[in-house]
């Protein structure tokens, strides 16, 4: 019997790789490195599943079934203070589990298919900072589907993992407020009150196990905060770990640069459907 060992919601800004490489650290880097140690030394999963918030096709959910994955650079490359350095990452895949995910999604009535894609920075940035290249990895899309479908996709993933015999960690990167347009390079502490409100509400809902109430957040506040991938990482995780499973807040940076970097860990609570 396989199992999902834990789920994580983590930031994925490419600047994190620069801070880690330079040894500067900082709270978001240090918490990722701590998660990496936890995964490598205590959880010791057979496979990681990572759902990049930057892989957003519309027609369905996709799984990369390759035996080996290479990164590609989908962040801005130019001299600047944040995230402009070239980084790369490779990981072996888990084709068997990938195929099982596809079949489980289809059995649930969802549009799921294989696609050769690789690892964009939304996936490989946190994996690189966590230092997990030796663990087989299955990239999946977060997609632009409804929250309800994303929840079902998460449930299908959990069921497939449990039937697979694999011990798996699921990582769904993202940010809370995600107003990159307000983050001027020369204005490093831009304050965005609606974003701070949104982040506070999100943290309260996530840590109290009310993930499904995310759907009830005021539409105008949601529009202003523009959370990464439309909050779908939380609906995916809700499907994987259980709709009522609370997330433990490991780190929150506050409303810096008009982006809400938060890190949550989710223990698996409810049985799969």
């Amino acid at each position: 019997m396989g199992e999902v060992l834990r789920g994580y919601f983590v930031p994925n800004g490419s600047y994190l790789m620069e801070l880690a490489e330079d040894g500067v650290g900082g709270p978001s880097v240090e918490v990722l490195q701590e998660i990496g140690r936890e995964i490598r030394t205590r959880l010791r999963p057979d496979t990681l599943i990572v759902a990049s918030p930057h892989w957003q096709p519309k027609s369905g959910f996709f799984v990369d079934p390759a035996a080996r994955h290479e990164s590609f650079n989908d962040y801005v490359l130019r001299p600047a203070p944040f995230g402009r350095r070239f980084f790369s990452y490779t990981a072996t895949g888990d084709p068997e589990l990938a195929q099982a995910l596809i079949e489980a999604g289809r059995a649930a009535g969802l549009p799921v298919g294989p696609k050769s894609y690789g690892l964009d920075h939304g996936a490989f940035c946190p994996l690189k900072v966590m230092d997990l290249p030796t663990i087989p990895t299955v990239p999946i899309s977060i997609s632009q589907r409804s929250n309800a479908e994303t929840l079902l996709w998460g449930e299908a993933i959990r069921g497939a993992v449990e039937r697979s015999g694999r011990r798996v960690v699921v990582i769904a990167p993202g940010n809370l407020t995600h107003r990159l347009d307000l983050r001027a390079e020369e204005e490093r502490a831009a304050f965005f009150p609606p974003g701070a409100d949104f982040d506070r509400i999100m943290i309260e809902l996530v840590t109290s196990g009310r993930l499904m109430e995310i759907d009830k957040i005021d539409a105008e506040l949601l529009r202003q905060a523009a959370p990464e991938a439309g909050n779908r990482p939380f609906f995916l995780l809700a499907g994987v770990v259980g709709k009522d499973a609370p997330g433990r807040l490991l780190k929150y940076h506050g409303m810096r640069y008009s982006v809400g970097d938060a890190t949550f860990a989710f223990d698996v609570a409810a049985p799969a459907r």
Binding site: D74, F86, D181, A226
Partner: protein, 110 residues
């Protein structure tokens, strides 16, 4: 690396548009503008020739063939473009559903 000064693929989040630039075998620079991704993941593609003339068509990821440093756009006669591999891979990812960190950030992403 020469990527810093002349990015060959950028994402404009205000216009929700990916813009790639490549060089054909005759030295002419072509531009591929991805104006919209549709529900079936087909894309509205506007191809801008070196002389400024444009051609608008619907494309899917299957219409692009990627090699190490070239991309061939099927259905467009003789349009094989050379690009820096790092941007070629970024373009490949975009055709398969990637939404990059925007070079031009918009108020609502993607």
């Amino acid at each position: 690396m020469t990527t810093a000064d002349a990015p060959e693929f950028v994402y404009d989040a205000i216009r929700k548009m990916g813009i790639a630039r490549g060089v054909a075998s005759d030295g002419g620079t072509w531009t591929l503008e991805f104006h919209e991704r549709h529900a079936d993941d087909s894309m509205t593609l506007v191809i801008v020739a070196p002389d400024g003339t444009t051609r608008r068509l619907a494309a899917t990821e299957d219409d692009f063939a990627f090699a190490d440093d070239t991309v061939c756009v099927h259905g467009v006669a003789a349009l094989t473009l050379r690009m820096t591999p790092i941007y070629l891979k970024k373009l490949r990812g975009f055709t398969r559903g990637n939404i990059p960190t925007p070079d031009i950030a918009g108020p609502s992403l993607p």
